[in-house]
Symmetry: C2
Subunit: 133 residues, 2 copies
Amino acid sequence: MIDPHSGVPRHRQLADELRARVEAGDYAPGALLPSETRLSQECGVGRGTVRRAIGILRSEGLVDVASGRGTRVREAGAPELVKVPRGARVRSRMPTPQERAELDMPEGVPLLLVLYGGKTKRYAADRTELSHS
Amino acid sequence: MIDPHSGVPRHRQLADELRARVEAGDYAPGALLPSETRLSQECGVGRGTVRRAIGILRSEGLVDVASGRGTRVREAGAPELVKVPRGARVRSRMPTPQERAELDMPEGVPLLLVLYGGKTKRYAADRTELSHS
DNA sequence: AAATATTTGTCCGTATGTATC
DNA sequence: CGATACATACGGACAAATATT
């Protein structure tokens, strides 16, 4: 449960708790989490605190939140394999909102950047795996 | 400036505005952004709204917030080059809090995962560039 | 089809604590 | 010490999206 005097902020405690439940399979992929109001009541914290906790899981790419529907554990799809040419460089960073829109990426998912010959190719990291061969 | 009637939430408008200023070099890397109270006054929004906007930039890895000091544009350090063996696979995702601590990563920075021979090596994406040669 | 309930999204105001200058 | 600035947290109020009846 949440301990207000532990020194750890409550929204972090709650995020840790929910993350543990997800990783333990307590909430399966695709399953709905309890509503914000419910979690607020059951955990004895304000709704804003619940939203912050869920915001953390969102930015970690662990859950998907949809207005009016609720919060679901994100399902991991099999990644597409992309071959990278020899000598290419690979980096990673979070996408700009524009890139997110263009590649139709959910929140909390990083970009994979392949730099080669002065050009840069972008891939959504939740759908892509790079291989060099 | 911020238009309360544009349909776009104010904290998003402000985040877009600040991001644009950063990318335009208006706030240089290492420079301090205006304080939350200042932004709040100048933009005519609540301080909570300012904090949410800055929170977005934080999760994008664009700025660093330090208690009592202010909000700074993150400086991009020269990345270390890591060589990747042939046949290895590369993925990327956001780190768990534990991984963040172990690798001493700031917020909003993804992980680079190199999978090779059943093992997985982790790198902080803001300090690492992968190459195969 | 329509009304209602549920759930998330936004915004505000306020209060308290902690770190820095 | 005081002033400034960020961090956390709560509460209330609506709005918007979706689900349900």
